[in-house]
């Protein structure tokens, strides 16, 4: 276990940024989001949740991955996706880091998505435990420990006040720790006690949260029964189909592929898409999901049943962003409770 004193943080970031691209939670106009850091930026590591999830770092909102051109009637394709730059993300919350391990199950499954793989391999994630969990948090229901970053984490970190504790969890994390040897300090008994106290306090706060009792076990694992449940109509009544839940969700990963440009010269990109939109599944001969009820059902069935069946985990980390952003106050917690017979 190492530590970095808060007075040395700027120097730590400076050193990291000499070797890597560095993403930090930066505050702009009151909103905090992970963005590439440079000196003088307004870093805010106290804000619990960034406005958007950091999935854009490994899965960009739009990514041009192919360039095409026609020369003398001959077509040529050039692969331009992915990213070679090595980078570090400092201060990601355990739920968001866990979402990376969930996205891995999609993109690193055969056939491996090479663009995603490149971004994922080149990144080092420093995950910061949540000293102050908020009312919209329900990560514990999905087995994520806010007091102990593990999933998707290369270095686990804890803010104990005067310093940030630093524990490498992976080979990549150990390497970065080596590079920062002259800034990171050793810890003593004092810090270990402080860590235990912090973890204890986090666990106590988690136990006080309104949704601490949210239990996934109440959901039936009978896919057809769930699909045909009467609750979808009622739950989806107020849904506007705006798609903000999919946009802010760290595990939503559906994408579209489009071409841009002219015949002689252009590019193909993929971009985030949303199962909440009516044209998502629309084909020349019709649409299997014609109503918002069907689209609403798809999103939650995917997260709570289909993804679990295929990958052994739920496609939700309980970050609570959808709870905060939904304009009609609908969210996955209400869905889970309702499905459970509430």
């Amino acid at each position: 276990m190492k530590q970095v004193y808060k007075r040395d943080l700027e120097r730590l970031w400076q050193t990291i940024s000499e070797h890597f691209e560095l993403y930090l939670p930066l505050e702009q106009d009151g909103k905090v989001n992970f963005m590439p850091w440079k000196q003088g930026e307004n870093v805010n590591i106290d804000r619990l949740k960034t406005d958007l999830s950091p999935k854009n770092i490994i899965f960009p909102p739009t990514e041009t991955y192919l360039k095409f051109r026609t020369v003398n009637k001959r077509l040529c394709f050039e692969s331009v996706g992915g990213k070679n730059d090595k980078y570090v993300v400092f201060g990601m919350r355990p739920c968001d880091a866990a979402s990376y391990s969930i996205l891995d199950k999609v993109f690193l499954q055969e056939p491996i998505d090479r663009f995603y793989e490149e971004r994922r391999t080149n990144g080092i994630i420093i995950s910061l435990a949540c000293s102050e969990p908020e009312e919209t948090c329900f990560c514990s229901s999905f087995g994520i420990a806010a007091d102990n970053p593990v999933l998707g984490t290369d270095i686990a970190a804890w803010d104990i006040g005067e310093s940030i504790l630093w524990q490498p969890k992976s080979e990549k994390g150990k390497k970065l720790t080596g590079i920062l040897d002259n800034i990171l300090q050793d810890t003593s008994e004092h810090e270990i006690i402080a860590l235990e106290r912090l973890q204890q306090s986090i666990r106590e706060k988690l136990a006080q949260l309104p949704w601490v009792d949210l239990d996934l076990e109440i959901i039936s694992n009978n896919m057809k029964e769930m699909f045909e449940s009467k609750v979808w109509e009622e739950l989806s009544k107020s849904c506007l189909g705006c798609g903000v839940c999919t946009f802010v969700c760290p595990t939503c990963h559906c994408f579209d592929i489009q071409d841009f440009g002219a015949e002689r010269n252009g590019e193909r990109f993929r971009c985030w898409d949303s199962c909440m939109y009516s044209d998502f599944t629309r084909m020349a001969h019709g649409n299997p999901r014609k109503t918002q009820t069907e689209r609403f059902r798809q999103r939650f069935m995917h997260k709570l049943v289909y993804f679990l069946n295929n990958n052994g985990v739920y496609a939700c980390v309980g970050c609570g962003r959808c709870v905060e952003k939904c304009p009609v106050n609908m969210n996955i917690v209400k869905v889970i409770k309702k499905l459970g017979g509430d």
Binding site: F255, D273, F280, H302
Partner: protein
């Protein structure tokens, strides 16, 4: 020669291919023969599998491969004009270059379940395209399979695709019968008139065959009912489905039926398996 600028390739990156010939099937269906710039087919596949064809800058669309895997010289796609990519394809000339990637999805079980069995093919309209790949594969390995019955229907005689195969080639093969039908009677048509599902019942075929069904969704649904009425079990029936697809490799998230992705776990489904899935296709 095409250029050689591709680096370590992701599955989303197409290869260049050339339209070698275009055969007009109906007013809005044509069969495109596609080869690599150096000649030959772009990749090996099994009957029922699909490929993504791209026409920059219009985009990509997924199509079933209609030629047989035994055909080494080219890949064939029978494509109906019905959207932006297909409109553009239909306006292209021989020698034009397109992108192709694949093959995607599973295939009809030609190497195990279908071997030695009597087979019943049921197709409607352009739905003959994927089944033609199986049928011609079987014709090239004729001794490995039992009798073949092909029920094929379209709106009118002009809407029947692959006329050379259905009128001349297949009926001449041993133990092979072709049963054609059109929706409405027209002058000059002396064959059967009526919808495919009712024709299934009228023909009174033995129900110990394996049935392979492909057509418009309504024909598939009613065709399955008809098969069950004449004593087929769902375990004996295979069908192939189509939903909106972008990636073709089970990641873009839009072609799922329940927890199955049509691009990856399909497009071929055995009907008892399909019955376990939500009714959303």
């Amino acid at each position: 020669m095409s250029c050689n600028c591709q680096k370590n390739v992701d599955s989303l990156i197409p290869q260049v291919a050339v339209i070698d010939s275009i055969r007009k099937e109906t007013a809005d269906v044509a069969t495109f023969r596609i080869i690599t710039p150096a000649g030959g087919k772009s990749f090996d596949f099994l009957p029922g599998q699909c490929a993504m064809i791209s026409i920059p800058p219009i985009g990509e669309a997924i199509f079933s491969i209609t030629s047989s895997p035994t055909e080494q010289r080219f890949l064939e796609f029978s494509i109906k004009k019905c959207g932006s990519v297909t409109e553009c394809l239909h306006s292209m000339e021989i020698g034009s270059e397109v992108g192709i990637r694949g093959p995607y999805g599973n295939h009809f079980p030609v190497n195990d379940v279908l071997r030695g069995r009597d087979l019943l093919f049921i197709a409607g309209g352009i739905g003959l395209a994927p089944l033609r790949s199986v049928i011609n594969y079987i014709m090239d390995n004729r001794r490995d399979y039992g009798t073949v019955d092909i029920i094929y229907g379209a709106r009118s005689p002009e809407d029947l695709v692959h006329q050379e195969d259905i009128m001349n080639f297949w009926p001449k093969q041993i133990n092979t019968k072709v049963h054609l039908t059109v929706d409405r009677a027209v002058d000059g048509w002396s064959g059967h008139v009526g919808f495919v599902p009712s024709y299934i019942k009228e023909l009174g075929l033995a129900n110990n065959k394996v049935a392979l069904v492909c057509g418009p969704p309504i024909m598939i649904k009613l065709g399955l009912q008809a098969l069950e009425q004449v004593g087929f079990k769902r375990e004996q029936i295979y069908t192939t489905l189509e939903l909106k697809m972008k990636c073709g490799v089970g990641k873009c998230g839009r072609c799922n039926i329940g927890d199955k992705y049509v691009c990856k776990d399909g497009p071929v489904f055995r009907c008892d398996e399909l019955q376990q899935l939500p009714d959303e296709y």
